[in-house]
C-alpha cells in the first residue's frame, strides 16, 4: 500500500512541479525510464515470489538507471549511441518480459 502511495506521490509531484529537464539529460530520459521499469517489474515479481528485499530493490533501481545512462553516454561519445541504446533496450526489454510473464503466472496461474 505504502509503495503504491509513494509512487502516486511521485507522479503528482512531477505533474505539479513540472520541472524542466536540462537539455543535456534529455537523451537519457527514455532509457532511464526503461531501466526503472525493469527494476520495478523485478521488484513486483520478487514481491509475488515472496522474496522481496528493500535493499536489493533500491540498489537495482539506482544501478539500472545509472548504468543505462552511462552506457548511452559512452555510446554517444564513441559514435555508436543509437546501437548501444538499442542493446540496452533489448536486454531490459527481455528482462521485463520475463518478469511480467512470472507475474502473470502468479496472478492468473496461467
Amino acid at each position: 500500500m505504502i509503495p503504491v502511495l509513494a509512487l502516486l506521490a511521485g507522479v503528482v509531484l512531477g505533474v505539479v512541479l513540472d520541472p524542466t529537464v536540462p537539455a543535456a539529460l534529455l537523451p537519457y530520459l527514455p532509457i532511464a525510464v526503461v531501466a526503472a521499469l525493469d527494476a520495478v517489474f523485478g521488484g513486483v515479481r520478487a514481491k509475488l515470489d515472496g522474496i522481496f528485499d528493500d535493499k536489493q530493490f533500491v540498489i537495482s533501481f539506482i544501478s539500472n538507471v545509472l548504468v543505462a545512462g552511462v552506457i548511452v553516454y559512452l555510446g554517444d561519445q564513441l559514435g555508436v549511441g543509437g546501437q548501444l541504446s538499442t542493446g540496452v533496450v533489448v536486454v531490459l526489454g527481455v528482462r521485463i518480459f520475463g518478469n511480467v510473464a512470472a507475474i502473470r503466472r502468479h496472478l492468473f496461474r496461467a
Binding site: I2, P3, A6, L7, L8, A9, G10, V11, V12, L13, G14, V15, D18, P19, V21, L26, L29, P30, A32, V33, A36, A39, V40, G42, R45, A46, D49, G50, I51, F52, D53, D54, K55, Q56, F57, V58, I59, S60, F61, I62, V65, V91, V94, R95, I96, F97, G98, N99, A102
Partner: protein
C-alpha cells in the same frame, strides 16, 4: 553470483540463456537465502531501508511523470516547427514568384524602351540575338516531349517501398534536352522554363531543378526546330532508352509535333566571372550613357552618335 568456489565448481550458463531463463536479479534470492539463515536487518536499519524504498518509488513516479510530459510536450513542438517551415517555404515561393513576375514586367519595359531608342536594324539584330540566346520569347513549329513518373510502388502514406524505376530523373530530362539540341532544335524549354547556354538541369533530393527552380511532373519539354525535328528526335538514343523504360517500368513518354509553339524568355543570366572580351558598350559609369551597341571592334567606348539619356 554465488557460484560455489568449492570443489565442484558450477559454471553459469552463458549470458543470453541466463537472461531468458531467469530475468530476476539474483540478488533477491540471495537476500531471501540470507534471511532464511536468520540474518535479517532489525531496528533502525530496517526502517531506514524502508524509507529509502519509499523515496525510490517516489523518484520513480517523478521520473515517469516528467518523461511523459517531455514526450507529450515535444510532439506539438516538432509539429509546430514543421508547420512553420512549410509556411515559410510557401511564403518565400510566392515572394519569388512575385519577384519573377515583376522582373518579367520590367524586362518587357526595358525591351520596349530599348526598341524605341534604337534604330530599326539595331533593334532587329538585338532581337535576333536574344531569340538565339534564349533571352527573348520565340515562336515556331516544333515538338513537345512529354514524360511523367510511372506509378509508384511506395506506400502513399508511409512512403516506404521499393525504388520506383519508372520515375523521371534529371538525367532523363538532360538526355531529352541534349537529343533535341542535337536534332537541330533552336529553342528548348522545360515546363515553361527556357534553356540557355548556362541552364542547369539537376536533382536536389527528390526534386528536379531547372535553373535552380523546381519543376514537377508531368514534364513537358518543348522545342522549336526544323521540320525533321520530330523524326530525328524519335530516332535518337535518348528516345529509344526512354521508350524502353516506359515499356518496362510504366513511365509515360510521348512525342508529338506541335505547331505554333511559343517558348518564353529565360531570365537574364548573371555573369559574375566572364566579361565580354570586346567591350561592346560603354561602361555604365561613363558620363555619356550610350545605348547603341558600338560597332564591333571599336576601341573607343564613347560613341558620340549614341542617344544618351
Amino acid at each position: 553470483m554465488s557460484t560455489g568456489r568449492g570443489p565442484e565448481r558450477t559454471y553459469a550458463p552463458d549470458f543470453l540463456t541466463e537472461l531468458f531463463q531467469n530475468p530476476l536479479d539474483p540478488g533477491y534470492s540471495d537476500a531471501a537465502a540470507s534471511r532464511r539463515a536468520g540474518r535479517r536487518p532489525t531496528g533502525w536499519r530496517r526502517s531506514t531501508i524502508r524509507v529509502v524504498t519509499v523515496i525510490t518509488l517516489a523518484a520513480l513516479g517523478f521520473l515517469l511523470a516528467i518523461a511523459y510530459r517531455q514526450t507529450i510536450e515535444g510532439e506539438p513542438g516538432r509539429a509546430q516547427a514543421r508547420a512553420g517551415l512549410v509556411t515559410q517555404i510557401k511564403q518565400r515561393e510566392s515572394e519569388a514568384d512575385q519577384l519573377t513576375r515583376r522582373a518579367d514586367e520590367l524586362r518587357e519595359d526595358v525591351n520596349r524602351q530599348r526598341d524605341a531608342a534604337l534604330s530599326g536594324s539595331d533593334a532587329a539584330r538585338l532581337r535576333d540575338l536574344e531569340a538565339a540566346t534564349g533571352l527573348g520569347r520565340v515562336k515556331g513549329d516544333g515538338v513537345v516531349v512529354r514524360v511523367a513518373d510511372g506509378p509508384s510502388e511506395a506506400d502513399a502514406v508511409t512512403g516506404v517501398g521499393g525504388t520506383n524505376l519508372g520515375k523521371v530523373l534529371d538525367r532523363d530530362l538532360q538526355d531529352i534536352a541534349n537529343a533535341l539540341w542535337s536534332a537541330g532544335a533552336e529553342a528548348v524549354s522545360i515546363n515553361g522554363q527556357r534553356l540557355t547556354a548556362t541552364s542547369t538541369i539537376r536533382a536536389a533530393g527528390g526534386a528536379i531543378l531547372v535553373d535552380f527552380r523546381p519543376v514537377t511532373g508531368p514534364y513537358e519539354v518543348s522545342a522549336i526546330g526544323p521540320g525533321q525535328l520530330e523524326r530525328r528526335f524519335r530516332d535518337s538514343a535518348a528516345a529509344n532508352l526512354l521508350r524502353q523504360v516506359a515499356a518496362e517500368h510504366g513511365m509515360s513518354f510521348g512525342v508529338r509535333g506541335a505547331d505554333d509553339l511559343t517558348l518564353p524568355a529565360a531570365s537574364e543570366p548573371q555573369l559574375r566571372y566572364a566579361v565580354p572580351s570586346v567591350s561592346p558598350s560603354p561602361s555604365p559609369s561613363g558620363a555619356a550613357r550610350s545605348n547603341s551597341p558600338a560597332s564591333p571592334g571599336a576601341g573607343s567606348s564613347l560613341s558620340p552618335s549614341g542617344g544618351g539619356r
